[in-house]
């Protein structure tokens, strides 16, 4: 990190947001001790996540009881990922990808095995909403809410997946914003044809020039 970066005043709001995110992640992990235990194996590892738009860096330090999130770190990250927020989310949370809509390129540097293991843990995370809500609502209502939450998140995941599919179809086929694979292939063929035509024309011009200079010499 440069000295210029270090002299930037830390933002109260962004620090509060990061603290809230850290609390949410750690609360979720506490309801799933199996996943938390597997994550704790990587204690001490640092993951850097760089979002390109808006420009934002988050450093996640894995600790024995969860993760700690920071906006800056002078330590070298074990693995760094860089991309736009939707592409990063698709990569890290294994969302349904659709080129042109979601799931574009993500730049990964460092220990990619660690990243794959963390992705697997994120997919396995099983939040026990009942355990979270029981102290507030009592066990019976908590169980109902847990069931409702699972139904809702299952539906939301399917709906998001369908939305990505439909958006992909619309963008790819109906709006014409994204070319189909065949259109890209045909465009490539056309470019090749033009290139060969230009080469042939260039050769003909060279031949005519040579013939003309030969007749002038006679």
């Amino acid at each position: 990190m440069s000295l210029k970066d270090q002299s930037r005043s830390p933002g109260l709001l962004s620090t509060t947001a990061l603290a809230t995110a850290e609390r949410a992640i750690n609360t979720a992990l506490r309801t799933d001790p199996a996943t938390a235990g597997k994550l704790a194996v990587h204690s001490g590892r640092l993951v850097a996540i760089e979002v390109t738009l808006p420009p934002l860096a988050i450093y996640a330090l894995i600790v024995e009881d969860g993760v700690e999130l920071y906006h800056r770190s002078d330590a070298t990250a074990d693995v760094a990922v860089k991309g736009n927020p939707m592409d990063l989310a698709a990569q890290l949370l294994d969302w349904n990808t659709r080129p042109g809509v979601i799931g574009g390129p993500v730049q990964i540097t460092g220990n990619s095995d660690l990243l794959q293991e963390l992705q697997a843990l994120a997919r396995q995370l099983h939040i026990d909403w009942g355990a979270l809500l029981e102290p507030i609502t009592g066990s019976e209502l908590a169980q109902q809410l847990d069931y409702g939450a699972r139904q809702f998140f299952g539906w939301a995941r399917q709906a998001a997946s369908r939305l990505v599919d439909q958006l992909g179809d619309y963008v790819g086929n109906e709006s014409g914003l994204i070319p189909s694979r065949r259109e890209v292939y045909e465009f490539g063929q056309d470019v090749d044809d033009i290139r060969m035509d230009v080469d042939r024309l260039d050769a003909r011009i060279q031949r005519l020039r040579a013939a003309r200079s030969g007749s002038n010499e006679h």
């Binding site: 830390p10 109260l12 009881d65």
Partner: protein, 250 residues
């Protein structure tokens, strides 16, 4: 003037120079058990965010040595312990045995005992070798030290060249309306909360008064410059209610 004749402030009172340390010790002995609960209440949780911001500016890396001075209940030391990793070292230091006892237990509970030490020290004459630490932090502690200039010189001595000092402390609000609201809140509410939670209104009356007697942002920066720190600067937080000062040893 001899030390026996010198006076200093303890809140708004003038007390003999030698007595302030004992009086401050009494305050912290009284509140140690519920110090964190009280901090959460009077700051409405914001002290945790301010400490996070301090950690982000500390530039701690694995392998570093860190001194958390006046570290009390150890919330910064726990974070530093995780950041410095297996090869680093954190010293949680405080002059007050009751606060250190709470801090030591929290470090053990958090699984941080492998790379932390606990030391009862006087900040004015730190018992560490020259050039020992990459970073020193003192959060809400400098205000209570009798001879702040001596403490700053002592911190400079034990910092490694290139190391940094971070002072997180109550300061002077930059906005007059905010200053009035803050005065009203701190003098009216803090002693009442102290009475309710720890049965000690006087300690929180002292807290409110001691903040007003503490040097403002520019004065403290000047004191750091005079002690020999380089590239000193400060960041106002919560409109200057709290300021984070930083200086380097080169």
């Amino acid at each position: 003037m001899s030390d026996n004749e010198k006076v200093t402030h303890f809140g708004y009172q003038q007390v003999p120079w030698q007595e302030k340390q004992q009086k401050v010790a009494g305050v912290f002995r009284s509140v140690a058990g519920k110090y964190d609960v009280m901090n959460d209440l009077i700051s409405m949780g914001s002290h945790r965010i301010l400490k996070r911001m301090t950690i982000e500016l500390a530039g701690i890396r694995p392998g570093h040595s860190v001194l958390d001075l006046a570290g009390g209940t150890g919330d910064l030391a726990i974070k530093f312990s995780r950041l410095v990793g297996e090869t680093g070292n954190v010293v949680l230091a405080d002059i007050n045995d009751a606060m250190l006892e709470v801090g030591r237990d929290r470090l053990i509970d958090a699984g941080c005992s492998h790379n932390t030490q606990v030391a009862q020290v006087n900040g004015e004459c730190l018992p560490f070798e020259d050039n020992s630490f990459h970073c020193i932090t003192i959060a809400f502690g400098l205000r209570n030290i009798t001879d702040k200039d001596a403490a700053l010189r002592s911190m400079l001595r034990v910092l490694k060249p290139g190391g940094r000092l971070l002072v997180l402390e109550f300061s002077t609000p930059t906005n007059k309306a905010l200053a009035k609201a803050y005065d009203a809140y701190s003098f009216a509410v803090w002693p009442k909360l102290g009475k309710m939670i720890v049965n000690d209104a006087d300690s929180y009356q002292y807290l409110a008064e001691s903040i007003r007697m503490h040097p403002d942002q520019d004065t403290l920066q000047g004191m750091m410059d005079s002690a020999g720190f380089a590239r000193t600067e400060y960041f106002n937080m919560l409109g200057g209610i709290v300021a984070l000062h930083r200086g380097f040893k080169f």
